[in-house]
Symmetry: C2
Subunit: 288 residues, 2 copies
Amino acid sequence: MTTKTPVAEEGLGQEFTKHVITSFGPKTDPRLREVMGSFVQHIHDFAREVNLTVDEWLLGVEMINQAGQMSNERRNEGQLMCDVIGLETAASKNANSGTLTAILGPFWRADTPTRPNGTTISFETPKDGIVSFLHGTITCANTGKPIPNASVEVWQASTNGLYEQQDADQRDCNLRGKFITDDKGRYSFYCLKPTPYPIPEDGPAGKLLRMLDRHFYRPAHLHFMVIADGFKSVTTQIFDSDSEYLGNDTVFAVKDGLTVTFTPRKGDPEANWELEFNMSLATKKQDA
Amino acid sequence: MTTKTPVAEEGLGQEFTKHVITSFGPKTDPRLREVMGSFVQHIHDFAREVNLTVDEWLLGVEMINQAGQMSNERRNEGQLMCDVIGLETAASKNANSGTLTAILGPFWRADTPTRPNGTTISFETPKDGIVSFLHGTITCANTGKPIPNASVEVWQASTNGLYEQQDADQRDCNLRGKFITDDKGRYSFYCLKPTPYPIPEDGPAGKLLRMLDRHFYRPAHLHFMVIADGFKSVTTQIFDSDSEYLGNDTVFAVKDGLTVTFTPRKGDPEANWELEFNMSLATKKQDA
């Protein structure tokens, strides 16, 4: 019998891991080599550390396959599984300056329509919905100057906990829109005062949460994505300071600096609450 | 603004990871707590170590979702993705005694028929197929005594590299069968002398191999699963010492002690090659 492989008969130690990592060929992109080398090292270390069994590993494979099978253009269960273990947050870096970031989440849409400032994103306001006026200024994190023509995109769930693409009863692109800042960097719109909701429970992410004896809830929040020429984009969320689950968001997205307080609004028949939320963007140069 | 969450504004350090791990509720199974705690720790450490970006993480999510979407009862792409980074091998422990194990792989079937000893598993032998006679004895690793009534299950790919469930041109359960050892612990059957083949290239596992500048090939091998009352089961593979790819199996399953050498067989019109391969099983008690 020939001896050609470094797999130890007694076990699968660091030599085995090194063998896997050194199998990457010379044409591998250097960044991919770095990322996959670290990934293989950590996933093998994990398997060794817990003495992972084949049955346990197969349970993980089954959950991965189920996640893919449930995913489509309206749902991303693979992303949700990462979110409930904090991996999207771990990958979502803040810029060195400017507004803090938070995770994108699985409900952003690339084809959100642009709407005029001062208009609403709530086209079918539910009976228990509380309309709020949200407005603010986008500035340069370096100079403090307003940024005109920035795209401020917002999306939120309805009071039933569903985004429009999850909910046959909401019209297309309900509760989402893009607003372009005016010459003073200002945006404004009407939306719902956000409410907590559970993430989908019917897939492997829900199964994992049940197995880990955890709840399914996200605190009340709105999603933002702000894009402007010459600046680093910001993907973030704001969290209502009145909400439950701020300390134990099921997808671990809350940051202290993103917690906001809505205030009563007077003299506006359209809304009883309002919020001013200003954001700043790092210049591409400044943050490089 | 209230301060309720331990997510540091500056970054996502060990405190964040601890927050995720301590979210596991009190009713979590202790073993699951151990496994998932280690998994979260390592996957966060990985993200920090390489400064993982959202785009890189999303590429991984996309590959996971694609793996699930391609998987069905005849194909397990999630498993294959683990296999090409050595994770199934890392989880496949040897018993403390007895024949070495190797990975199950994605082509085992639960409903393989039992066949009489001395018969063939090759019902549609291809023109380039070389029939071999394979036989051996199953013994107790502790006493050396033969084990009667053990189930010796075998499966292999045809010379085109396809297992029967991948190949519309092979009959159901071609190149697979279960053989029950006789009163002297013996099994025997005719099969193909195995040949190297590439794993499926059309899914995310193939994409990953291309990105890592790696080949797709497995060395020539046969799969075995041996089950007997009172003994620990053995899932393993044997590798032809003549084969290419012994040192760089794309799924990292080769072990030195599982490399075998076929020898010419004389006086048998059915086969020109043969192999004696004996296996031993650890008793459940002895290996507990």
